[in-house]
Symmetry: D2
Subunit: 472 residues, 4 copies
């Protein structure tokens, strides 16, 4: 994958202003966002005077004990869950990043991928700046502290204008929290309220977790500031010429079904994808079988539309993490075996429609088809509730390289043969867009049509090497 130099991250953000024991709420919010990142977690809080923080590698529930949360007093704060690619799961890369600049202490948390981070990093370094993490997010704090912006009005907005790529970010100062979404709106970020307190979260499921009400999404190109005077908002950038482009893969895969992001009910969208899939790729079969949990919603839609009964063909072992975001290939392979077990008595002798959200490398799908056949399934028809995944993402989703994406170089029939299915049907691009209103989404991973600069391979190898090398 020709990717920008930094580890790509798909993370979760949660911010609070005006809630006693903010750390407790952030803890619960991050817990609801755990699916967005399981490699590390951190919380920074302000008590109105100073900032305290704690962060560590591991799950939210592993990183924070009641004692740790008690040591984080204050009514404002931000939190972050992170996942990373191989080699970068080091403590110094866990966020929030807490720094001291001339304005005092700041904490920053970021979800997305800054496509000009390597360039900016190099430029700042040429001016004498030093970096202490291997994340692209660190460039943010250099921008924010840059006198070029700092000494002028609307400094944060001006600084944000320098960034390219995808970002949702939270900034905590001793006196305020700020939040921004990039002008394209790649990554989700929602505003909620709980009593008088303001909440910002990557997904609304985290608002619900603490009993907060969703108010609205942050607009692409919007910067909000919450402090003692309440919430204020400003636009820091014009909309892109071709309109905003929210990440459709959030709807397809990443977001939790009980979230509402980009104005869509995630579960309902996936049910609609499943129904559409049933119309696009009908087949005579006995049972519709979801791959749990990623295919659950779409399988429901497929079953309803087709009239083929839904059944449970796989049991998920709950004592293992999410396959997709494990750091190493070998773990991923082994993880699959341990994660799903076939209900042999259910599938034996049956013609099955197996529904999942996407196929990335194809090896997992192949293994599952194989398991179903071993268990006696008569026919296995695979239906995928998104188009073939063919291109890398430069905006924050950690796909493998194009060579590793099975649809990167193969036709559907080849993929079918590889995974050993009797038939294989993908959702069409129209099927992808129509249920969500027809447009306004980035689908570059399916189409290769990148709405924003990708940053290219510049400086990547050399720079990444340094920090990967630094892994101990």
């Amino acid at each position: 994958m020709t990717s920008p130099w930094s580890p790509r991250e798909h993370c979760g953000l949660f911010g609070v202003y005006g809630l006693p024991h903010a750390a407790q709420a952030i803890y619960r919010g991050l817990f609801a966002l755990q699916h967005r990142g399981q490699e590390g977690a951190g919380i920074a809080v302000s008590n109105g005077t100073t900032i305290r923080f704690y962060k560590e590698l591991g799950l939210v529930s592993e990183v924070f004990s009641p004692k740790k949360l008690q040591e984080l007093p204050g009514s404002a704060g931000i939190g972050h869950v992170r996942y990373s690619t191989t080699g970068s799961n080091r403590l110094e890369n866990v966020q929030p990043i807490v720094v001291e600049c001339v304005d005092g202490l700041w904490a920053v948390a970021h979800n997305g991928n800054l496509t000009n981070a390597a360039l900016l990093r190099r430029q700042y370094q040429e001016s004498g700046a030093i970096f202490q993490t291997g994340t692209d997010s660190e460039v943010l704090v250099h921008l924010l502290a840059d006198p070029l912006f700092r000494l002028r009005p609307r400094r944060i907005a001006r600084a944000l204008n320098e960034l390219a790529g995808a970002y949702a970010f939270l900034l905590l100062t001793p006196f305020s929290i700020m939040a921004a979404r990039d002008p394209f709106g790649f990554r989700p970020l929602s505003i909620g309220r709980l009593g008088e307190a303001w909440i910002v979260a990557s997904e609304t499921c985290a608002l619900a977790q603490i009993g907060a009400d969703r108010i609205r999404d942050l607009e692409p190109g919007e910067l909000i500031t919450v402090n003692d005077r309440g919430l204020s908002s400003e636009r820091f950038a014009d909309p892109p010429v071709n309109g905003t482009t929210c990440c459709v893969f959030e709807l397809v895969y990443f977001a939790r079904p009980d979230s509402r992001i980009f104005g869509c009910n995630v579960h309902a969208v996936r049910v609609a994808y499943g129904a559409r899939l049933a119309r696009e790729h009908p087949v005579a079969a006995d049972l519709v079988i979801p791959i749990p949990d990623s295919g659950n919603s779409a399988a429901l839609g497929y079953s309803r539309e087709s009239g083929i009964p839904l059944d449970c063909g796989f049991i998920r072992n709950h004592y293992i993490g999410r396959t997709f975001i494990m750091p190493q290939q070998e773990d991923r392979t082994e993880g699959v075996d341990l994660k799903l077990s076939v209900l042999a008595d259910t599938v034996r002798g049956k013609r099955l429609v197996v529904v999942d959200d996407s196929i990335v490398r194809g090896t997992t799908a192949r293994r599952r088809v194989s398991r179903l056949r071993e268990a006696g399934a008569r026919e296995v028809h695979v239906r995928v509730a998104s188009p073939p995944c063919r291109f890398p993402c430069f905006y924050g989703v950690d796909f493998p390289t194009r060579e590793e994406l099975i649809a990167g170089a193969n036709e559907v029939e080849d993929i079918r043969a590889f995974i050993g299915a009797d038939s294989l049907g993908y959702l069409s691009l129209n099927g992808l867009f129509e249920p969500v209103g027809g447009g306004g989404f980035c689908a570059a991973c399916f189409t290769g049509d990148y709405p924003a600069p990708t940053g290219g391979p510049m400086a990547k190898d050399q720079l990444e090497f340094r920090w990967e090398g630094a892994a101990s």
Copy 2:
């Protein structure tokens, strides 16, 4: 609850004979049995000469590292996962129990509850025996080592005859493994093969996890021995006068849906319970909603039989353990909030049939009904795929006391009012038995009809007190 003195345990067993690196297979098997016990795990192996073991509090994946498994060489071994009630989750109670007696080193693992353990413990103590754990299982090794049995033919069988209550157990010597089920057959235990190796497991899902084939269940009252000469079997007790009584609650709740136990396909039984429930308690509604994952199979059956569409109303957070078996009430309460989130957009304005496997205290059901109403559900009809749970279990399931069981002292209408449902329907006793052949099961938790002595309250308070007191 008037219970025998020892902590009640609902555990998982896995034994192997004749497989290189037995510890690896046991690790995978225990991982598949993790739902049967999450408080502690242990593995003991024999290399043909001596026994090595490791055990610790925690999940299988936490207790065992690759390095730990490597330090357990040998081709035979047994493993155990354990859950416990408050106060007894101490390392010394984790199994297998490894002891040295005159015959050398032995390791023992046990699932069930010995209703005469307190009596036997006292008797052995009066003879000078010392005990080093707070488990009822320890009495087993005293029986096995007793010269009364040891110096006669069929010593193990004779010793087993002294035990009352429920047990499936595994014994490892340097040269063999043995397995036995009590004459009533309360707890499941299956025999499998993988090539030339013999496997014994609490549930067949663990056989499948390592690719082994299920051969048959151990018979109630059967003792098998596997050594270099193969597998030999003997009956150590006559069948009970009224026939065997397998634990129906294993089918209702405990066993994994992809397991086959007591000759039944667990998932299919639960689907049948759901269908039966639809006939016994029909209602006009828009959606059938399972409580994930315990209500999944029955909800499928209810939906199919009633024609009411199935939908997903709750999302389960995968980063938390199983509510039912957490050790403390407060954790249980909080755990529920963190575990399931409502899909508000799905349930809003809808008439719902909510299906679960059972109701124990009622507080969890009440909270969930409340959440659905807060999210805008118009009607909430609760359907339970088992009869009211009214009596304690003396055979190894850790129910709360009768006072805490909501159906212990309340009628269905009272329970409905307590949980706030528009209607409430339980499966009938006939509905429970017919799908599994009409008989041969213990349903004492529903009927109070205990097939075997319960041990009574004897000596319990004093003895239990000692070891609970010993908790540090």
Copy 3:
């Protein structure tokens, strides 16, 4: 070394009765006894009703946190520090051993070596007893619980009479503590008072640590019981025909210089040994150099008697443990390099008298002589404040086998050549005995004259093998 089957232990004991927060005092007492065992530590306390305990591998300061101590309420308790030989440093061997027998909960801690433990273990096993540790101490609790003794008057005293070998032990019941010393008096045990509370400790330095006053030593063959009615004492055995034989090696090496044991001031005895050594082995030299800290006292005596100035030739690194009791040979070797550094500027060009307490294998002494020469010492005369160590100990000191003892098969001149000294002088046997009153000591490690049966090699190999094999 033909040794009894069990790991030999040289441990420290500390017991308290009648002191609020006994665990705190025991913690401090064990800390003062840490030199007697660094592999594991444990505390058991009684609150008058039940016994709680905690034990773990590691130093006292590592094993116990303030929180752990708080979880051990009660005004009576016992503690233990332990060191072990290779292979037996397993958690289950750490003491106190806490068991339940017919009399309720007991905790036992032991210092010494029971030479008939293997025999008794086998006998009890033949009666059906089971053992769960690899220590010889476990046999104690079987004896104590044996109905043969339990149902008769003076049961504890009767049971103790069955034991052979060396022991000081403490027993905690919910209502009392008991302490006993073997009839030979091999190991030290002192009684102290702090206000109304009674204290028992292996060495008086532990009494001083908590501000308690030394009352007297326990007599050999004496059993004391402390409970609500105060302290009572009984003799459980007649004195040995040839009189008591306290371990002289405690004075030579093990005990802390600020302790008073067997009626002797340890530091003063060692100073006297050093002075005697100066008379027995005078030499013309510029400086007397102690090996810190084991040679400090004797070097002082040598310098005073000879008039040769004392100086500091070695600096001890304080961030490493005591060489002698590390579990593995390789650690011991490496430990020496890291532990002592030569003051080259001090020793350069000088004729040195290097004083230490003993030479065991000779490899350490050889290395130190070599270091001094490398640093420019002109002459190195080694003086040892005890006779040549030639025989194994069966009473609780973990010497290597006779083959490994350099004085086991070599004459003094050979040893001198091996360690590379210009001269070598050992204290004479008369020099060993006269400063301590001329008799009443076991010096079997120097003379081979064993005052009590040694147990011989019986059953050792088979039994030890089992539990060493069990190490994981």
Copy 4:
């Protein structure tokens, strides 16, 4: 204490170039320097291409396992041990600090105190720089990366000229190590060789630990660079007008006796101080008693000069760290009790001369005098082998505030009364200087005569507050 904003540090440095497995040697070197800092340790190594590092709170032996060392391949590297004042013992403050600037990866380790760090930090922050630690050392890397210096010849030397205060520092790049001492020469730094490899260490005891030979000290104001072309040296600053001023407190207290620093044999200097003290403050007494180990050398000198016999009055418990550098007052107080025990039998009825290196707060000395009297000492005469410690240090020694220094506001007679001694004698200033050649030392803590600017209280409160506040 009016101190600069940063936590004062008294640390140890060790650098290697040209030695296979540099991390192993650094580990051993840091182990020998452990007395200079016990709060945290870190090692950074280069394999010629990139830099890897590991650092953690704790002792060297706790932080590094064999596995951790193996993960640090390369033949060049630097290491650091650190101690800190309350509130700053956070992981992010542990060194080496590893950063990426335009020149690539750098690792920096520092011993001392930069008195203009707060000013420089503020200036750099005003230019947009961000800081991620609470140490004064971080300003170093900003200076080094500053284009103002970077784009000119002799950049490192130019950058160093900006620093004020005390520093010895090591810099690791992928291709070289550099080392520098401030122009005043406050802190020690020595150069050694081991075969072809170059070593740099805070004290020569660390050179000896790995078998390296001392070549010479770094000169004050000297910068050396070691790379593939060997060692090159340059002067980056003129000597101070009044000459260099090495820290005499290193000789008095900090350095290990077996080190040679500032051209002096540390042990010999302390022996000379003790002898001088005997002449300045003679007294009729029975025994000279050192406070171990800080008073050992001086007590030897006092005894030799006075003819009063040396004896051992205190036993040090080896299982506890160095009192002076524990982070909290309460720990310090309690630590003292646990650390030293009195040999009552030795001191009873005796007139004692108790010798220590210094008195800081006086509370420890008071407690020890009290213990000796409780043990029966007839007279206690305290002799201190340095002058009264009256002023804070701004150059890297963590003294308490002047209010806390007992000699800050009290006369000797008052101090004597406070500590309860029969007499009290301090070394004179002449006595301090003459044995070390009469001059060239900073003795500001005794005289208040600060040779270099102290930085004053500027900005300290505000800045320190921020990061202390950040402690979690």
